[in-house]
Symmetry: C2
Subunit: 140 residues, 2 copies
DNA sequence: GTTCGTGCAAACGATTTGCATTACT
DNA sequence: AGTAATGCAAATCGTTTGCACGAAC
C-alpha cells in the first residue's frame, strides 16, 4: 500500500514508455487516491489531461501489471492497484455499506475452483451482494 | 427450471401489465433459451420486437422478480431467470467463455463468509474473471 | 529527426428516453 | 375510451479510435 507516483512511473520507464506531464499527473493522482474507487472520469477531473489520455495511460499501467480494473454493476469501470489486497467486497443491499471479504474464505474459494475446474481466478476486484449482519438483525 | 412462457406472462398479468404480441414472443424466447446467456440483443433478433421493447419488457420482468441481470466484464448485460441455479460463473479473460462455478465451492464460500462476518450473500448471479484451464495450457 | 503521446472530435456499443402511433383491456 | 405499450430515432453514458500536431528521446 505504500505506493508512490515514482513507483508507477518507474513501471512505465521499465517498459520503455515516455514520461510525459500527463502521465506524471495521472500517476500522482492514482498514488494519492488509490484507496478510493478510481474511475477514468474521476482521475481525469483531477488532472490536466484529456479523458482519452487517462484511458490510454490506465491501459498502459494495466499492461505493465501495476493496475487492474473491474466492472461493478452498471457505472464506469473501477481501477485499483494490482497489489492492493482489499479488493474483495461484500456489499449490503440494504444499507449499501461494503465490508471486506475474509481472505481465508476467498482463498479457499479460489483453491476449490482451481482444484475442481482448472480455472484460475485473477486477483481482480469483485463484489458479492447480500445482507449484512446488522441489516439482517434489524428486520424480518 | 421447467419454466414456460405462460409462467412469465402470468407474472406480468399479476402486475396488471398488458399482454401484447411482443411480450408473448419475448417470454417464449426467454422460456425457450433460459439455459443460455441471454442478452437483450440476442433476444431481440429472435423475435419481432424492437430492441427497446425487449429492454422494457426485461425491466418489467425484473421488477416482477422473475428475471435478473448482471454485467459480466465488458459486453452486454446477461439476463437469466431469478430462480435459475446456475448463476455463478467463471469467465475466461482470454477466450471469453463462461463455465459454471462449482456449487460446492460456492456454498463453502457462502458458509465461510456467513460464519465469519454474519453477512449473507444473496443468491444473485455473480462472476469471477480469470483464466480457464485451456487458455492456461495454451500459453506460458 | 523519429517515434510516441496528446488533444480533439468523431465513432462506438449498450442502454435509455421522448414522442407520436397503435393496441390492449 | 382511456391508458399503456410500441417503434423509431435521437440522446446518453462509458469507452475507443483516427488523425494531425507537439513533445520525449
Amino acid at each position: 500500500m505504500h505506493i508512490t507516483a515514482e513507483t508507477l512511473l518507474d513501471a512505465l520507464r521499465s517498459q520503455g514508455m515516455r514520461i510525459t506531464d500527463a502521465r506524471v499527473q495521472i500517476c500522482e493522482e492514482i498514488a494519492a487516491r488509490h484507496a478510493e474507487h478510481l474511475t477514468a472520469a474521476s482521475i481525469s477531473t483531477g488532472v490536466e489531461a484529456n479523458e482519452s489520455t487517462v484511458y490510454r495511460t490506465l491501459e498502459v499501467l494495466e499492461e505493465a501489471g501495476i493496475v487492474e480494473h473491474s466492472h461493478m454493476g452498471h457505472g464506469p469501470a473501477v481501477y485499483h492497484l494490482a497489489d492492493d489486497a482489499e479488493h474483495h467486497h461484500l456489499v449490503c443491499e440494504r444499507c449499501g455499506r461494503a465490508e471486506a471479504l475474509p481472505a481465508a474464505a476467498y482463498e479457499a474459494l479460489v483453491a476449490g475452483i482451481t482444484a475442481e475446474t482448472g480455472f484460475v481466478p485473477s486477483s481482480r476486484h469483485f463484489a458479492m451482494t447480500g445482507l449484512c449482519k446488522e441489516c439482517r438483525a434489524t428486520n424480518a
